[in-house]
Every structure is written in C-alpha cells, then in structure tokens.
C-alpha cells in the first residue's frame, strides 16, 4: 500500500518528495525545488532547478537578480508537470500574486501542500481553489481561535474614516512589501480613494512588478521627496519596520496604522505603538483554516508551520487525524 510519507516527508531542508526528488519551499539550498510563492522565507535564492508560477519566478528575479537559480521552469495554474514519477500541479492559493498550492499525485495518492493561503477575495491574485486530496498539508500561522479577521472592506473603511477625522495628520500604513501593500492599495481604490498614494522606496519595485502583471494600483508617488514636505491628509504605505523608525518623523504627527492579522491582539498593537490597527491578513484566519479542513475532509491533515497544536486538536476533535510536521525556518507574517 502506498503510504503518504513515501511521497512527502519533512527533512531539515524542508518538505521532501522522494519519488520526484524535489523539495517544496526548501529553507536550504537544494538541487530541485518547487516554490509556492515569493515571500523570502519560502522562496530562497541559490537552488539548482526551480519550478514555480511565472509571477513567482518574476518576484524571485526581482528580489535576487536573474541568476536566482541555475534553471527556472514556469508552470501555469492547473498545468501538470512531470517530476520523475510524480505529477506536480500548481493551483491558486489566494495568498499573494503568483502564490500556489502544490498538488502532488503519485500511484493514486493525492497530496496538497497549501503553502500560505487565504480564502477571502483578494483583487491582486487568483482565489484559492480547493482540491480534493488524501492528505492536506496546511499552514497554521493564525491557528488559534482568537484570530478571526473581520471583512477587509470594514478595516479599509476604518482607515478612510480616520483620514477624514484627522485631516491634519498623515496616515502611515505599515504593510508587508510583497502582497499586503498592493492589496491595501487596491482595496483603497475599490472604496473610492483616487488620490495619489505615497509609498516607501522599498515598495517601488514590487509595485511596478504587480503593474506589469496587470494589477492596476492607480496614482502612486514616492513618499521620500524633496518637493513635498506636508503630507497632512495623505495615506502613506511603508514596510512595518518603518513605523517606529526615524524615517516616519518626516510626516506631520502621523497616525501609525499597521495592516496585519497580528493586530487582532491589542497587546501586539500597543507593543508596536500602533494607533490604528488594521486587521488585514494574507493568511487564513481560524475560521478559514477550520472551514477548509471541513470542506476538503482529507484523510489526514498535516500542519507545516504556525500554531500547530490548536489546529491539530480541532481537526482531531472533528474526525480528521492531524499531525504537526514541525518544519522550521518559516517566519510569522509581519514579524520583520
């Protein structure tokens, strides 16, 4: 009988597929890798052969230069690619532009590596597609019942209301440079914010990349400019680390906002000096994680990283045997 651990098993380098001889999102340099998405802890430079979506390969090239791997192969969503005896298919994960679940089929066994994912709509990337499987390998970044993200439109509404309420102040929104920043910009556009949005220099190349992939971000301008000294009433998007940094001092009495699922817990907001926490995340919240397990009803649930024990317990209590893989090397969102 074919056992799941013969197809995929955790190793120090990452999740290893022996019959296909490749790793998924390896944290160390390997000969053959399949990459789920472009965030730095999943997509590292220096592998031999890399398989990923075209957008993910673009992001890697933008971040690490064109020589980020010895060879790169793009796969479209839904297109099957052979890796030795194994059939590999990339399916949208709804996390960021280009993000994919890795569907691995071998000897009648189907396993899905979710990578990072979310279930709610995101104007900057294709929505998550559920794939029936024998084993679902899930992330669990927000795998505690306290993490329940409100509708993102509601959070953007809070931001816009604050801008109207404090026209004399600048609103500085901390957002992860890949994915979150562009999603916030798109959500602002959807709610009618047509003004120029000012962005930190660290976001510019990824914004341009999203535009090349036909994600329309509207009018943007660098926040670091000699022409403008008064940003009262404006929205500025910057990496989270700049919120408390000296960089933020150029703005008039800024309202520090931070778009992250971690903002659900007040102590986290207070710790970082955040005045306006925006609970917007690119990861599934507790309800999405559990609803996904319920929808797929896999034979087994494996959990890669995050708060494994709570999701594993929930899964066990709901009749899906679960197992924590204890993979290391993946960061929490926004903990940069």
């Amino acid at each position: 009988m074919t056992r799941p651990q013969d197809l995929l098993c955790p190793k120090p380098e990452g999740l290893y597929c022996a019959p296909g001889d490749f790793y998924v999102d390896p944290v160390r340099t390997v000969a053959r890798a399949v990459i789920t998405h472009g965030h730095g802890d999943h997509a590292r430079a220096g592998h031999g052969a890399v398989l990923a979506t075209e957008a993910t390969l673009d992001i890697m090239a933008e971040r690490y230069g064109l020589a980020f791997a010895e060879s790169a192969q793009a796969a479209a969503y839904g297109e099957s690619v052979a890796r030795d005896a194994v059939e590999v298919t990339l399916v949208p994960a709804g996390h960021v532009l280009g993000s994919a679940q890795v569907v691995v089929r071998w000897k009648g066994l189907t396993m899905v590596v979710s990578g990072d994912y979310k279930r709610r709509r995101d104007p900057t990337c294709a929505p998550f597609e559920p794939v029936p499987c024998d084993v679902f390998i899930s992330e669990a970044t927000f795998g505690l019942p306290v993490f329940r993200h409100p509708p993102d439109g509601h959070e953007i509404g809070r931001l816009l209301r604050s801008v109207a309420q404090f026209p004399e102040r600048a609103h500085l929104v901390g957002a992860y440079a890949l994915g979150k920043a562009q999603r916030i910009i798109c959500l602002l556009r959807e709610q009618g914010w047509t003004r120029t949005i000012y962005v930190h220099g660290a976001l510019e190349r990824l914004n341009a990349l999203y535009e090349r992939h036909r994600v329309d971000l509207g009018p943007l301008a660098p926040a670091t400019t000699a022409e403008r000294t008064d940003f009262a009433g404006e929205i500025i998007i910057a990496p989270p680390s700049t919120l408390q940094d000296r960089w933020s001092r150029r703005f008039p009495d800024p309202v520090a906002a931070f778009a992250s699922g971690w903002m659900r817990v007040r102590a986290r907001a207070r710790q970082r000096g955040v005045e306006l926490p925006l609970i917007i995340s690119d990861h599934a919240d507790w309800d999405e994680l559990t609803a996904t397990v319920d929808e797929l009803r896999p034979g087994e649930l494996w959990i890669t990283h995050g708060r494994e024990e709570a999701l594993a317990r929930w899964s066990d209590l709901h009749g899906v045997p679960a197992r924590a893989l204890e993979l290391v090397g993946y960061e929490e969102e926004g903990e940069d």
């Binding site: 019942p145 409100p150 604050s162 933020s248 001092r249 520090a256 007040r266 000096g273 709570a310 317990r313």
Partner: protein
C-alpha cells in the same frame, strides 16, 4: 453599540489628548440620542449597575467551546475579557445586535443573575470581537481607556463650542442620557438649569508665576499671600439638605469622605484643600500627602481608617453662603465672609487657611525659602491672589498665581529608555534613571529610582534619542538598556517635589512628580548622586 465599540477601541490606543477629544466629540456629534448620552455617561463614570465579575464569562465560554482551545487562546492573549471577546463562537440566527441604550437600560434594572444571561445573549448576537470587548468592559464597570471624566466633558463642550466650565457647572443637575444637554449644545433649546442643590461650581485655577517677568510688574499691595497646601483641591457643599464633596474637576468623592461631608451645619460652598488634619493644642496640624493617599481611591471606608487618618478641609474661599452666590464679589469681600463662616461652623473638620502677611516680594521670597514653624514647613509653596479678583472658572491670566517651592534636585544616570506614544513613537522618550549604591565590599552599582518623560525640549529629545540608539546595550521589546558606567553614560539633573518610602521600588524610595530639569552632557556618571543622598532627603522631610 458598534460605533461605541469602535470609539473605545481607538481611545485605548490613542495617546494624544487632542486626538482623544476629536474621537469623542465626533462620536457625540454622529450618534443619535439616547445612545450618545449613555456613551458619555460610560466615559465619565456616571453609569452604575450590578457589575458582573469577568469569571462567570469564562465558564460561559468553556461551555461553548473546547476548554483546551480556550486555554491556549487565553494563554496567548493574556487578558480574559479580550480572549473571550475574540474566541466567542458565532451563533447563526441569534438576535440582532443591541444598541448601547438597550444594553445600558437593561443592565441598570437587571439583578446579578439576569445580567449574566443578558450578556451571554448579547455576545451571541454581536458579529465583531471589538463589540464583544466593549460590552465586557462596560459590564465590569471600568472602561480604562485612558480618558478622564473631565476630558469627556471637554469633548461635549467642544461639540457645542462652549466653555467646559459651563458643562461642569451643569453636570450634577443633569442625568444620563443627557438629552437636554445635547439639545442645548446643538442650539436646539435653552441652557438647562444648573439650579440644582448640591451642584459643583467650576473651580478657579492659578497660573504658575514667572519670577523673571511677573514680580517686576506686580504690586505686592494688590495681592494676598497664603500657603499652598499639599493635598487635593476640593469643594465642600451643603445646600438644601444635600451634602457633597467634589474634586476640582467635579468628581463626586462624598462616599470616600463621609467624615468631611458632614462638616458644615450651615448651607454654603467652601473651596479648600483636602488634607489629613490632626487635632493639637493649637488647632489642627497637617499630615503629609502620603497619609492622605491612604484615604484616596478607596471605595469603602471604616471608622478605624477615619480615626487613623482624619481628613478635613482647609478652607480658602467661599463661593456661596445660604442662598447667595458670592462668586461675583471680590476676593477681599469673600475672604471676610469665609472667615466668619468657618468660625461659625466650629467644626474640627474645617479650618481656615491663614493669610501670610508680607510687605514686599523679597520678603515673601524669604518666607517661601524658609517657612515659619508649623504647617507651612510642609507647604508646597505660596499662592498669590489679587484682592479685587472675582471668582472666575478656569485659569484666567493675572488674578491668581502659584509660586511653588523650588523642587528637590538630584543628578541621576540614565539606565533604560522606552519608546514613547503617538507623536513620540519613533523616539526613546521615557527614561528610567538611577543613583549609585555601595555594597559592603565597596562595589558601586546603579539602582533605579524613578522614571520621567518630560522636562526636555524637542531638540533635546532628538539628542537623547540619538544617545540611546548609539549606546544601547540590550533590548527588551520597546525598552532599551543604555550604557551606564562610571565613565560612560548620560547624567540627568532630575527635579521632583518630594520623596516617599515605597515597597514597590527596588531602591525603597519613590519620587513625586519627577522630571528632567537639565541634561548634564558634561558630567561623568561616576559623579552622579548616591542613594544615601535621597535617604537623607527623605529623613529630613519626615522630621518636618
């Protein structure tokens, strides 16, 4: 309820006073009656109902979800009410979300058992954790969102473009949900009548004197002087059978000081200082502020505590006598009326703050520097009041001055710096400083003695911030340990108003009102003061 929840959420994370005022004012403007009135009552602490203990809610949530999952959640979040608000399972088909007015009105009439049932029902109906959190805060009776009652009243005053003193004077004649107040603030009706027996009269406050400028232009003959007592400013009211004791912002503290509330037998409104007053052969004598603190912020007082710490009012002004409002009279006239009034009460709990005669400013300066024996020795300084000044609410410029005693000073070494809030969140602006102690084997080490976050200019803040960043030795979240060695570190001259013994501080002493008075870039830390210096100061204060 949703808007109120959003308000509490934002207030709890906002540090700027102006931003808080904007948030509350906008809420009062945009929320209809009666919800906004209940919100105002919640913010000013004027709501009362059978508070529910948070613990029942823990049992309720464990009946709805796996206790292990709840425990992991609680362990992660750390705050029970917040955890419950976050994990409360959705119940499709529950009732619609309640409005704030429904919640408050139901809580006010419910008994303890009913309160629990009501709260569970509302938690089921609420969609958003922020709302559940607000409900649970409301339920415990203490919002703790960093907003004083006075600031809430200021926001209401801002809504109508009126002086906060007007709102304060009305306040005790009003009842939640304050529909008459809002009607007046929005220009839809006349000002409600403040003719409410036992009401609070907004206090007149003094400006700090500027020694360099003011004495040259002020004539000593125009001013009376008296000692500035180190207690809390209060208003003692007896009117048509109503007796009240108010703080200077109009908070009613009658229940904490039943011994003081009964001190008047004639109707009148006395402005004075609440102090611990002990009877002696020559009248009352004043005890230290530390003793008064034993009586403050207590919900329950017993005879034993009142006997040990007998409180009283040292009177310095009379705002009303019988039916007559005296506030339009001059200070000289009011003072005569006050002296006669206090004498007639013949109460051990009310005495007169004596005037301190003086001829010239230099003479007064001498008295301030070296007060006569008795109570003036522990006074905070002197007060100057123009003889011809009427009693005006607020802090008018010119009629009243406070001239505080020079602060105590020590040189201390910066040990830790913490990030500030709001405007200062990119700066290390809260400083913990220490002085030297010597162990038996002669080794010197720094022990923290206090924390200060003001007293420096914006320019100096930038320089200190840079120093902190350049000299960090360790980081603990938002706190940095700063290099503090005999020959490397930063010395602050710290000013403070007094010292108290404290079991909570490692050094055993706590400073009152510490602030940075100078930054001693020139001084090596080795030359900063020793704990022994503070201990000597404390011993000296205690013998006075």
């Amino acid at each position: 309820m949703r808007a109120f929840a959003e308000l509490l959420d934002r207030l709890s994370l906002t540090s700027s006073r102006n931003a808080k005022l904007t948030l509350v004012r906008d809420h009062l403007r945009e929320t209809p009656d009666p919800d906004r009135g209940w919100a105002l009552a919640a913010l000013t602490g004027d709501l009362s109902f059978h508070a529910a203990k948070p613990n029942f809610i823990r049992k309720a949530v464990e009946a709805r979800m796996d206790p292990q999952l709840f425990w992991w959640s609680y362990d992660y979040v750390g705050d029970l009410a917040e955890t419950v608000a976050l994990v409360w399972p959705r119940r499709p088909g529950a009732n619609r979300e309640p409005e704030l007015a429904e919640v408050v009105e139901a809580l006010r009439t419910a008994n303890r058992a009913e309160v629990q049932r009501l709260i569970e029902g509302w938690l089921d109906a609420m969609q958003e954790p922020r709302e559940r959190w607000a409900l649970l805060k409301l339920m415990t009776g203490a919002l703790r969102v960093g907003l004083s009652a006075r600031l809430a009243k200021q926001a209401a005053a801002d809504l109508g473009g009126v002086d906060v003193a007007e709102v304060e004077e009305l306040w005790h004649a009003l009842h939640p949900p304050y529909e008459d107040l809002f009607a007046w603030l929005e220009g839809r009706s006349e000002k409600p009548s403040a003719e409410h027996p036992g009401r609070f009269r907004p206090a007149m406050l003094a400006q700090a004197i500027d020694e360099a400028v003011d004495f040259a232009r002020l004539d000593p003959a125009d001013y009376s002087a008296e000692w500035k007592w180190d207690g809390i400013r209060v208003q003692l009211v007896r009117e048509a059978g109503v007796r009240r004791l108010y703080t200077r912002t109009g908070d009613d503290i009658s229940r904490t000081f039943p011994d003081v509330v009964d001190a008047l037998f004639e109707d009148g409104v006395v402005d004075g200082e609440l102090l611990i007053l002990r009877r002696g052969p020559n009248g009352n004598s004043v005890a230290s502020f530390a003793e008064l603190q034993q009586r403050l912020n207590r919900k329950v007082v017993d005879a034993k505590l009142m006997a040990k710490y007998p409180a009283g009012v040292r009177a310095y002004d009379l705002l009303a006598e019988g039916q007559e409002d005296l506030r339009a009279l001059t200070f000289a006239e009011r003072r005569k009326r006050l002296e006669a009034f206090v004498e007639r009460q013949a109460s051990p709990r009310v005495d007169l703050s004596p005037l301190q005669p003086f001829e010239s400013w230099p003479e007064l300066a001498g008295l301030r520097a070296d007060p006569p024996p008795g109570d003036p020795q522990i006074a905070e300084g002197v007060m100057l009041k123009r003889w011809d000044s009427i009693y005006e609410a607020g802090r008018p410029k010119g009629p009243w001055f406070k001239w505080k005693r020079d602060p105590y000073l020590v040189d201390a070494v910066l040990m830790y710096a913490q990030r500030g809030h709001g405007k200062r969140s990119s700066f290390y602006s809260d400083y913990t400083f220490g002085v030297w102690t010597e162990s038996e084997d002669g080794r010197r080490a720094l022990t923290p003695v206090g924390k200060a976050y003001f007293g420096f200019t914006d320019e100096e803040l930038k320089q200190i911030d840079k120093f902190v960043r350049d000299n960090t030795t360790e980081r603990f979240g938002p706190v940095r340990a700063v290099r503090a060695e005999p020959h490397a570190g930063l010395v602050f001259e710290v000013a403070f108003e007094g010292l108290q013994r404290s079991g909570r501080h490692r050094s055993g002493v706590a400073m009152r009102f510490p602030r940075i008075s100078r930054i001693r870039w020139d001084k090596p830390p080795a030359e900063a003061d020793e704990l022994a210096t503070l201990e000597r100061m404390l011993a000296q204060m205690e013998t006075q």
